[in-house]
């Protein structure tokens, strides 16, 4: 009989185009399209920056205001003649003159060398020069290009002067620039890891924490709708009069919700995968070689989270999904229609989202004992994020407490849902809520 009831739940839900669109197609479309758009935007920016830097090297025209007229400006001019295609040098000028020349649009870069530059160089003190370029518009790619042009010029100039100074003193530039080559490692939970793995995990955490929060919120709404629709479509009264144990009705609803959430999660994962891939590929194009791990990296997570932790997270996700789905069934059964249940659930999503967001952005260890106890109390709704966070912060005591409390709470909620499906209690509560709703002018709509 359970098989038939689950089949009914799935058919009645998965054949509804509106449900298919909102819970299965939309996560794929939204994240997928966002990923493609971001990927395109970042890719375009990377291409623009690359073209700008290449163009600068091949076609740059420079205006140098040389107020120094000494050893430093000679070094700088030697460099600029290698860097740019055309260099114009002016002796009677100021920073304003450089600015004016760039506004006229005659040059790519303008450099002002102050009068004391050579003296500072002789005293082995840093020289403060002014480098100006011109921006014609504000956009992601053009602002990246402007920054890149300026930093490329200054970095290249520094390297050039450093090398000249070192060679002039008979030293090996490599020894001066990087006298030590270190194999950097960090030990975390007994594992020796490159530090960029931790950085990558920290930056990926948001992605991995948001996903269960969204999925759990979705289960809450879906379970509530599956029950509210029984009221809306006037099928509940017949269902409650059938020779079916209440536990089977609740189980069928929970399984139906879980299957839909599973489809939705797969769609969400596919969309998030496209998003992460597009973003990581584009960002690696912008900052090539900065890290061996991506911005969002599953492999980095794999190096820190062991199989036991993954198993516990899956168990926690299952418990959270069951807990919120049971709560959804309770609330949905009291709602006269899907719209009312959505309003109800929208207001209650804070149970999942607020503590979840706190965990995403704030360290568990910084919350203090009362804050940690509060989070554990709410753990049936946020168990996967809490366990992940506890594991990453090395607060292992949180894991068994969370699993134990979530299991007890979830069992109690399932029991309460089955009890509420005692039709007398349910109809009386519905009647009471609807009457109160009418008194408050329309929180509940009478059908």
């Amino acid at each position: 009989m359970l098989k038939e009831l689950v089949g009914k739940e799935l058919k009645n839900t998965l054949r509804d185009r509106k449900t298919l669109l909102t819970t299965i197609l939309m996560p794929l479309l939204i994240f997928g399209v966002m990923g493609v758009i971001y990927g395109f935007a970042f890719g375009k920016a990377a291409q623009t920056v690359k073209q700008t830097v290449t163009g600068l090297k091949e076609h740059a025209t420079l205006y140098v205001c040389d107020a120094d007229r000494g050893e430093f400006s000679e070094l700088l001019l030697n460099f600029t003649r290698k860097f740019g295609k055309e260099v114009v040098v002016s002796k009677e000028c100021s920073v304003s003159t450089v600015k004016e020349e760039l506004i006229k649009g005659n040059y790519t870069l303008g450099v002002y060398v102050p009068p004391e530059a050579s003296d500072l160089l002789r005293e082995m003190k840093p020289v403060n020069i002014t480098v100006i370029t011109k921006a014609n518009r504000v956009s992601f790619s053009s602002s990246m290009a402007v920054e890149t042009v300026l930093s490329a010029f200054v970095n290249s100039l520094n390297s050039y002067i450093r090398a000249v100074l070192v060679v002039s003193r008979g030293l090996n530039p490599q020894i001066v620039i990087s006298p030590v080559i270190a194999d950097e490692k960090v030990v975390f939970k007994g594992e020796l890891l490159p530090p960029n793995v931790l950085t990558s995990v920290a930056s990926s955490f948001m992605m991995f924490a948001f996903a269960p929060l969204i999925v759990v919120s979705m289960a809450l709404g879906q379970a509530a709708s599956s029950m509210a629709v029984e009221n809306e479509e006037k099928t509940l009264e017949v269902l409650l009069s059938l020779p079916i144990p209440r536990s089977k009705i609740v189980t069928a609803k929970l399984v139906g919700t879980m299957v839909l959430v599973l489809f939705s999660t797969l769609s969400f994962a596919a969309g998030a995968g496209i998003y992460a891939y597009s973003l990581t590929t584009a960002l690696s194009g912008l900052a090539s070689g900065s890290s061996s791990e991506g911005f969002i990296s599953l492999s980095a997570f794999g190096r820190i989270i062991n199989p036991t932790a993954v198993g516990l997270m899956l168990l926690a996700t299952f418990l959270s999904l069951t807990a919120v789905a049971s709560l959804g069934l309770l609330l949905g059964s009291l709602s006269p229609d899907v719209r009312t249940s959505s309003t109800f659930i929208g207001q209650l999503s804070f149970l999942v989202m607020i503590p979840g967001l706190i965990l995403v952005f704030i360290d568990l260890s910084s919350l203090g004992p009362s804050g940690q106890a509060f989070m554990v109390a709410l753990s049936p709704f946020i168990a996967p994020v809490l366990i992940l966070k506890a594991h990453l912060e090395g607060m292992e005591w949180v894991v068994p407490v969370t699993i134990g409390w979530s299991a007890i709470f979830t069992t109690a909620l399932i029991f309460a849902s089955a009890k509420l499906l005692n039709s007398e209690r349910l109809l009386t509560l519905q009647h009471t809520f609807m009457r109160r709703g009418r008194e408050r002018k329309g929180l509940f709509r009478r059908k």
Binding site: M1, E4, L5, G7, K8, K11, N12, T13, R15, D16, E233, K234, T235, E237, V238, L240, S241, L242, P243, I244, P245, S423, E424, L427, T428, H431
Partner: protein
């Protein structure tokens, strides 16, 4: 089939500050079609909901084929089939899938399903989603669902409510023919006196939460010197 099918004794139902049923007692014999008639708010639907195990009585007792509706709910549910006044079917199931689901829930096989298909008279429309059905088609599906499992007691609240004459006549004929063929006991409520006269062996007139009178339609009309049950009904309600 003359055993006692339904025995209602001193039934009372109170919803907080509203007394829906004050004191109702009646019996229904096996194989009998018994009608509850009465004005809106008289307590008919509440009585039927108690019989269908949806509500619990505040006091009094209801036994269906000897089983108490409160203490032996599961056993009662296996014997009854309930048609509420506003009954819907799952929108995205076809009519056929809905009937098959119900036959399996009652542990019945293909024979019940075939009966349901015939009873509904929906033909090829059974392969369409319920969401595409008219009100009349939905009601035909519900009546078929109620009767096809051949319950020992069918509880039907306004079986032809809101239907046009053609649909209503079709359903009345279907109910009459099917319950007589299989000896199903039926309790139904209706505002349509013609329907009650046509279908019911006995009628109880419920007014203000109490039974005002019970009897065979012909006997009641003779007792009140009325041409039809409607006249009896109006007189009883006005004199109450």
């Amino acid at each position: 089939m003359n055993s006692l099918a339904v025995e209602v004794k001193g039934l009372r139902k109170v919803f907080k500050d509203v007394v829906a049923v004050k004191d109702i007692s009646f019996t229904v014999n096996g194989g009998e079609v018994f009608g509850l008639v009465g004005p809106n708010g008289a307590g008919k639907t509440t009585t039927l909901r108690i019989l269908a195990t949806i509500l619990k009585p505040t006091s009094g007792s209801v036994r269906i084929f000897g089983k108490d509706v409160v203490k032996e709910t599961d056993a009662v549910r296996r014997m009854i089939s309930y048609l509420p006044e506003e009954a819907g079917a799952y929108k995205y199931l076809t009519g056929y899938e809905y009937l098959r689901l119900m036959s399996r829930v009652y542990g019945k096989g293909d024979e019940a399903l075939e009966d349901g298909i015939k009873l509904s008279g929906l033909g090829d429309a059974l392969n369409r989603y319920v969401s595409t059905y008219s009100k009349g088609m939905k009601r035909r599906l519900q009546v078929a669902r109620t009767l096809m499992v051949r319950p020992r007691l069918a509880i039907m609240d306004e079986p032809t409510s809101g239907l046009d004459v053609v649909h209503a006549v079709y359903l009345r004929d279907a109910i009459r023919e099917y319950v007589r063929r299989y000896g199903i006991t039926v309790i139904l409520s209706s505002h349509n006196m013609l329907e009650v006269e046509y279908l019911c062996d006995r009628v109880a007139l419920v007014n203000k939460g109490r039974i005002a009178l019970v009897g065979k339609p012909q006997d009641l009309m003779a007792e009140y010197g009325a041409k039809n049950l409607e006249e009896v009904f109006v007189r009883v309600v006005r004199n109450a």
